[in-house]
Symmetry: D2
């Protein structure tokens, strides 16, 4: 796969940008949250999870984000440090913000929902001034998550990170990660998602997320190749479109496409499937693997996380993922 | 005690007004919250706790408040219903608000703190339209809590409740319950606390809270009788001033004062002491007890709650409180 | 008239509190504003106009308010100074606020309307800290205007001014001056108007304004005596209710009432009628005149202002008003 | 000049996008505004002025913008209609917004300043939904103004207009028009200005405005060619940089540059110089003139407007501009 060139002279492999949150996962599951009495605390947030996943895979990782000046914020920073993630660019917000929360409700393995606390959250207070050109320049790749585009000043901080990444040949992964809350309208979302996607090298999202980004195009029906080609005209080399149970397809700028498979799992909950997939897949791409092999690695990683209680804390090692693949291929 | 006359023809004994929240109490205690991994969920909020306390004591109770349209809000309503509290005036807010949260941190029995989530909370969305003159008219007493004055439209709703209560001879308890967050300044707080206190029959607060209310008086030093007399010139018949470890003093309009005692307890945490005291004390006053006896009943109730993990769920019955008093007096 | 006792030992006669604005009055009149090409600038705002009116009548006057840090703000301060109004308590707001504007449209002498600019205005930035107890204490009377209650922190500043006035025996005139913009709802207005009116000595408003204040009383129909008596139970000694073309009636605490008359005038516009009436009427009351005579003086003042192009700048002197009365009584 | 190709099959020549305001120009000039007593009303706002200028030059023009639902808004619409500008896409905002105001202060011909009213203004309420793909598609060119990027939802509406323009081969003029108010920070401004400039064909601004856009580049000193080339890598064909008294330079993608001259004028005020220059210059470019000739036409237009009392109303006709040029070249 020579579409993506990672500059091997960089000090860091990967920097996550954006959301650092706390998940509060129901301990008594298979019931509505009203009847759940206790919750377990984990670090959460899509870019946090992916970065933790890559660090577990021994990628030299860092993070650019803001945390609240409270116990939850300090917990997040400690957890990142304990997971060998560089937190020199994780800034403590002093404005009185809080840590974003996600209470998970697991009614059944397939009926899961989240109750979010997203008012006045620290992660959306990330400012352009927080984004260091020097820091980004040192990394092979960064990952931005769509949620960080939802509000100013975090939105501007992300656009600045994109500008620095392009300027210094840092590869950009864009995890679309669309969540309706905090956005004012679908149009606002589509407009800023498009402006960001123009500057990214690999774009990963569900078919529904790409449909949302194409809202203003007025297409009669969605078409994966049309979607992918739009971004190839800008900077993208690969566009990964997830079709739910039908699996993912990676479209490459050279005209090839690759279909991913799903690993069987004893599902506890569906949360974290996308983040663990992304971590495994990005690991593969960054190591120069064939796209097929990277997708398989991501799927195996996902099968492990959805069988566990948490997202972040369950991120698997290389050995764990390999073992799942080996067992499956026997 | 004939300073306070409760109209015995009313259908309800007591209505709490204001804050309905969720407490998330640390399970692994005696450590900073960063190291607490699981939390247990309880109904919380000062007026909620007091109302639950009075309902446990078999007072016919109701509540006027707003809850979020989510799992936390539904949990609160169910809990109130299960505790025989009338929720016909508990309104589900549809504006996208969330349930206020209080994560408790118990580093030691005496070093406790709270991490609050108070942005965009349902309880402060209470509107004047939510306050039914008919409903208030039916009750012997209502209790308002200072927190509900912190923001519009809840602030206006409380002033309307006060107006209806005065119009219909409903006794008003005012739990000062000052918490700096959500207020813009101490002056704003003092001004609205004073406007509310003018219309109340029994005012309960700490010495520090009354000092804050007297901020604009520029007294050289605080004096309990000066404090109490100011309110007797309006509608108050009793002013209870809490002096921390030195105990509480109840000042009555007839010039008498009563000093409360503290019951020994094996303290788990200090949270809930004030709310359980208020519940027991109000119970005594509403049953025509001597002030001394009512204060003793409140103190005994408090000794039970501070020995327990929760505030609301630990609210004791008449038998439990009596048993503590009997044991102590042996 | 011994219902109102003004302390003759005070240094100042009168302090206006609240709104200082700029009127931009159409020069080409008797047409819609779309066709007006030039506007003339005057100081405006109800309490400003009344204070200017009283100063023209040689009452020692001052003002408590905030002005914008711009050319319009400086113009206002200069104009007040030029009119012998003490501006030591007129504070320049540094928050980036603007001066409230009122563009007047005069389609015909009786079809007048106003286009208001009330976003981010300096007058509503008045803070409790701006209100000096020492300053209020020195005055025989203050006037508050309902508009200043419309938003925090001006609202709190007014309640503090009321508290100081009551504490020091300063008479309080309340010009209801209800203007729907800037208020969130009629209920919010009614609640704060009631809280303020409880602390005032003379309340002046239209029948419609009093109806709005009684919104939560659910009266079947409005009754002037019911309205007036409600306030006599608090601190009011006089309640003036304006019935439009039917004239005003002043209700006194001693059970008497006085009906005002209207002076004939060649009307240019109706703006300023109420403010000039108030200035003349208050002047009479403060000089110990019979209520009837004070009302006549107010009406004569109004007849002068509505015949002129401006409100503030047209405020008449004692001689001008007397001359109108003399001519009329010939 | 074949760098810019205007599609001659389009129905409209030109569409202005964004700000529609009212200027209130001091009538008594050469003094501080405090001493100005009357103001004359004109339509204002940079894109409005330029569009009026082009319409005076007989270009078929239209406008996309929002106006307040009041007398000022209706005045603007009537004025545009009277100037043969299509207002089918000028939308009346119903949210309670006001018309932006600019009071001009002319202390001397060279010491001019503006007092702006920009809170809650109708023009910044422009929404993506207001932007019609069909309408933009019909025009040879659109002009966007930087001010419209200052706030959501106007910001998103502009990005959508840019997307439609690029999609349909409509040439885009970008008038940088930086005004610090309404922006949160210089960084916010720089980030969104850059995102917009990437999509424009002709960018016109002062050297200071381009410096602000390069704030995050950390150049040691500014260099016109570096500035211009950056945009040629995106979509720009021409970058016009104004150096104040030193005149303007137009940099073209083909490597050529053109220096403009300044016409002598009896200056009343400096306002409107840039807008009238832009109108004349764009007129020239759209008619396929040599860049030099277009610049001369712009300068001559500017010399007329700065000799007049207004900006919009003084926009000259072809004959007036030609006459100035002829007189000058005699």
């Amino acid at each position: 796969m020579n579409l993506l060139n990672f500059d091997q002279n960089k000090k860091l492999d990967f920097i996550g940008v954006g959301r650092l949150c706390v998940d509060l996962n129901a301990n008594e599951i298979h019931r509505p949250m009203e009847e759940t009495m206790t919750f377990t605390k984990y670090v959460g947030g899509s870019p946090a999870n992916i970065t933790i996943g890559l660090s577990r895979l021994n990628m030299k990782s860092g993070f650019i984000g803001r945390i609240a000046d409270d116990q939850m914020g300090r917990f997040i920073k400690q957890y990142l440090n304990n997971n060998n993630i560089d937190t020199s660019n994780v800034i403590t917000d002093k404005s009185g913000s809080v840590t974003g929360l996600a209470f998970t409700e697991i009614k059944s393995p397939t009926d899961c929902s989240i109750l979010m606390y997203r008012d006045n959250v620290a992660d959306l207070k990330l400012e352009p001034n927080d984004v260091s050109e020097e820091y980004i320049k040192q990394s092979k790749a960064i990952l931005i998550s769509g949620t960080a585009l939802a509000k100013s000043p975090s939105r501007e901080a992300v656009f600045l990170a994109l500008q620095y990444a392009r300027k210094h040949g840092v590869m950009v992964f864009f995890d679309v990660d669309y969540r309706p809350y905090t956005w004012e309208s679908e149009q606002e979302t589509a407009i800023f998602y498009n402006l960001a996607a123009e500057k990214c090298d690999v774009i990963i999202g569900t078919r529904e997320e790409f449909d949302m980004m194409e809202k203003m195009e007025n297409y009669e029906k969605s078409d994966d190749w049309v979607t992918a080609k739009k971004w190839f005209d800008f900077n993208a080399k690969m566009v990964v479109i997830k079709h739910g149970a039908d699996g993912s397809i990676a479209y490459a700028k050279d005209g090839k496409s690759y279909t991913g498979s799903v690993f069987p799992a004893k599902i506890v909950k569906t949360f974290g499937a996308g983040d663990s997939y992304a971590a495994g897949f990005i690991y593969g791409l960054m190591n120069g693997w064939q796209v097929n092999k990277a997708m398989e690695f991501g799927s195996a990683a996902a099968s492990i996380v959805i069988s566990s209680h948490s997202c972040s804390d369950a991120m698997p090692t290389y050995e764990q993922i390999s073992s799942v693949i080996d067992n499956h291929n026997k």
